[in-house]
Amino acid sequence: MYNRDMMEAVAIPAKFTRKDIDLMDQFIKEGYFSTRSDLVRTSVRHYLHELSLREIRKNIKPKAFSKKDIEEELKEIKKIRQDLWKKKYAKNLH
């Protein structure tokens, strides 16, 4: 349920080799994708997902969390949640 702007399909020009097209059509024929657009969209999303995860891993240094750290973190998240409740939702509850 993305908002309407995010869901609107936009056509962009893209060139593929005959070899790529044959490969794509093979996977479509085998039922993995419904159309070429479906295949390209899924592939782009998959690649962006992998790429972003790789970059996140580079940027965030793994840390050991104690029980106390976890409780502190949950408290911080709760503060943000309460703030969002006040700003966005509370007025809608009569």
Partner: protein, 151 residues
């Protein structure tokens, strides 16, 4: 395909702790056997907290990573707000109410969270809460980590 509503704490621990059950969940959402569901408020919580902890660029990457999870459903406010009154009486901490409503709006089966207080409210009679370790053990049927609070 079970739909799972994913709380913000799963993302915030999962991206920061490799050896966590939250990370196993994020790694194993395939969009076919398990469909991820979040709300725009969950995304906002993650962005605000990740920005404070890791900076703007990494926070943006985290949001991109969430939004490109396979077959993700993002529940919007216009689906949540009409349900607030319906579940109000069952949720003591009102700040959790929009997420409960998003769970119902998304027709979810599980609500994966580390928020133990949330799981102790009256709404537990209607929502199937599960912590990350239980989810890895019982739903994904993978080897889980023994972590504090099952994160």
């Amino acid at each position: 395909m079970p739909k799972i509503f994913i709380d913000s704490n799963i993302f915030l621990f999962g991206y920061r702790i490799n050896e966590s059950n939250s990370f196993i969940i994020l790694e194993n959402i395939d969009g076919e056997l398990i469909q991820p569901v979040v709300s725009n408020s969950i995304i906002k919580e993650v962005r605000i907290r990740a920005k404070r902890l890791e900076g703007k660029d990494t926070a943006s990457l985290i949001i991109l990573n969430i939004l490109t999870l396979p077959n993700i459903i993002v529940i919007q406010d216009h689906d949540i707000i009409p349900l607030l009154a319906e579940y109000d009486d069952l949720v003591f901490d009102k700040s959790d109410l929009p997420h409960i409503c998003a769970y119902f709006a998304g027709d979810c089966e599980y609500f994966v969270t580390n928020n133990r207080k949330l799981t102790q409210q009256r709404i537990k009679e209607k929502v199937l809460f599960i912590n990350p370790k239980e989810f890895v053990d019982n739903i994904l049927k993978l080897q889980s980590y023994d972590t504090p609070k099952g994160i």
